[in-house]
Amino acid sequence: MITMAWSFVVTPNGAATDNPAPSGSTQVLSPRPSERLTSEEKREMLRQLYLARYFDVRLIKEKKKGRLTGTLYSSHNQEAIIVGSLFALEPTDWISPIHRDMPAFFMKDMRGGWDRPGRMSMSVEEVCCQVWGKVGSPGRARDNWSHIGSREKRIIHSTSMLAGTIPVAAGVVYADRLNGGNAVVLTYNGEGSTAQGIFHEAVNFAAVHKLPVITIIENNQWAYGTPTELEYSLPDFARRADGYGIPGLVADGQDVLDVYDKVMQAVEHARAGHGPSIVECKTFRAYGHGDHDDDRAAKYRPRDEVEEGRSRDPIAVAKRRLREQGVISAEEAEQFMAEGKGAGEAKDADFPPEVVAYLKRGVDYAIKSGLPPAEEGSMWVFREDHS
């Protein structure tokens, strides 16, 4: 099943092909927006791939050491989707990440610097506090894992009801438009959630009102324990977009530049007032649904499928493409060999030192932080001081 999914967008050497023009009636503004990126920006993308990967690796290591409880939902092998899509945004844009996008909560608006004052993102300290269930979490540890958000930083609060934030995202940008803004919103969804009624209802609503909602489908081939052939019967979700009269694009989810190109096309389309798009990013879930599922996933997924799905590590693909474009040297491509390594094999030396230091800051902060006081459990059911 996975071979068929890959063949549509990817050549055997792993480079993205020219996809067919997006379906829907609207002209795409720039065929390859990534050609406008500077070499420095492309190197930054690679650095951010390491950062997203290291977040995952570090949390798994922390849990193995017994310093962390709670389920981890790995984004390993899907980092190009997070980095490439966030790179297409302006600081004032909104995002709506889910459980597989945990790094997005602190990597939003990172293009202009990781510690820039006023960055429209959570800090790595806040996100680590959330992972550890500490009071310093933006949601004061009231719900777990990715169920946080920030109105101020323009991150929509996720819940367990997948695709349920798409209508919320639509409402956010509807209001933004009335407020005179020009923000777009990226909603992240697994392919599993596309079977939900609310997916259809919300995308249809956004299409009718021409709202700048970009629905990213991270098609990682597995919805918990259910393979794609039991989830949907289309080769590409781009065709589903036809049903809403909006563009549908397919990206190689392992290639950060291809993700950036497709998401940027959708962003430009939305920013110009033409409304929503669906961007399917084809990828593969490296581990179980959550780490509680790792052992069972090793049984319900054929070994050769997992090997193939993990064979195009987004860090390796990015290095190859940047090397082809002369952005990085052969020596640089040999540095920091995190690619292809699971959390058990990857060492800190496989990552740039600034990446390790950045995460260490968050982890150390979270471990030292306190738990929320018990009485907060009954607070904030209602807002009391309404006016």
């Binding site: 639509a170 209001a175 609503f205 607070m379």
Partner: protein, 335 residues
């Protein structure tokens, strides 16, 4: 005609609601309305008639038929600073938006530790006795009273409809607002609305009739059944006090307890099914807080635990009646 005479016109329930919406839309430029057929058509019952002409298509939004997308988008609009009135074409259809209400809207303030508040009022026509059958007769308020974070309102008079709606639209908590559609154009309850800024606070029940022998607690359409029962009982020498809760969440326990300190007998009436219905909640709360006041076990008069059927004899068979309320009062008085 003098100005005084012009303002003294009696208005029905529906007109009162419409006045509340118009006044709040005028007062608050960040208020939006969204629902099915509320703009071009003016709503299935006409509550929003003229609103789109007056405030434009951007603020009065005709949405595709999806209660879930309507509620979800209202949540997003509120997240980005708006106050949103959501119309359910019939309150029965609210189940199609249930997840967005109980998991997204109701919990937003809680799960963000107070960062985000929700200015969303979900209102719609509710209730039976009109031959609406299974899917146009429901009172499903208990679903939402059971979901922490939602306020639940059910007015019975035009002036309460207006005053409670205006309060709801200024409350930065989500509100479920049950409108008794049988009362929308009922001329017998039309009344002159209070002048000026008319706000009815949440959590304050109204005593619709004073009495010493038994306390009838109810809301919405059943207020009128209870008042009729009180007339019948008075002829039989039993004086019932009728309390109209107006809001279920928050619940005015104090007014009920004060009444029971006088009557010592409680009958609670609602037209929703009995099991886990709001009448049961009132009885439980009073048992917790005022058991020593009671001289008789409290009694519930509710719909049978059935759907609401269509044919008239069937419908009347399952919904609470004046006769049942009278009988219940005699039962607690004679205990």
């Amino acid at each position: 005609m003098s100005v005084v005479a012009a303002t003294a016109i009696k208005k029905n329930f529906l007109t009162a609601l419409k006045e509340a919406l118009i006044e709040e839309m005028e007062r608050n430029p960040d208020m939006l309305c969204i629902g099915e057929d509320i703009g071009i058509l003016g709503g299935a019952f006409g509550v929003t008639e003229g609103l789109q002409e007056r405030f434009g298509t951007q603020r009065v939004i005709d949405a595709p038929i999806s209660e879930a997308a309507i509620v979800g988008s209202a949540v997003g609009m509120s997240l980005n600073g708006k106050t949103v009135m959501v119309e359910m074409q019939f309150i029965d259809f609210i189940s199609c938006g249930f997840d967005q209400i109980v998991n997204m809207l109701a919990t937003y303030h809680y799960r963000t530790a107070g960062e985000v508040d929700m200015g969303v009022v979900i209102r719609g026509p509710a209730g039976g006795y009109g031959g609406g059958a299974l899917y146009h007769s429901q009172m499903n308020e208990a679903w939402f009273a059971h979901s922490p974070g939602l306020k639940v309102v059910c007015p019975s008079t035009p002036s309460d409809a207006k005053g409670l709606m205006k309060t709801a639209l200024r409350d930065r908590n989500p509100v479920l607002f049950y409108e008794v559609k049988q009362l929308y154009r009922d001329t017998t309850i039309a009344e002159v609305l209070p002048e000026g800024e008319h706000l009815v606070p949440f959590g304050q029940a109204a005593i619709r009739r004073a009495g010493e022998d038994v306390t009838l607690v109810t809301y919405g359409q059943n207020v009128y059944h209870c008042l009729k029962a009180a007339d019948v009982l008075a002829d039989q020498g039993v004086h019932a006090e009728v309390i109209d809760l107006r809001t279920l969440v928050p619940l005015d326990e104090a007014t009920i307890l004060e009444s029971l300190a006088k009557t010592h007998r409680l009958v609670v009436v609602n037209e929703a099914p009995m099991t886990c219905g709001f009448a049961g909640e009132v009885v439980a709360r009073i048992s917790d807080r005022g058991f020593e006041l009671l001289d008789a076990p409290p009694v519930r008069v509710t719909r049978k635990d059935t759907p609401v059927p269509w044919a008239k004899p069937l419908e009347l068979h399952v919904l609470p009646s004046v006769e049942q309320i009278v009988a219940a009062c005699h039962r607690v008085v004679r205990f």
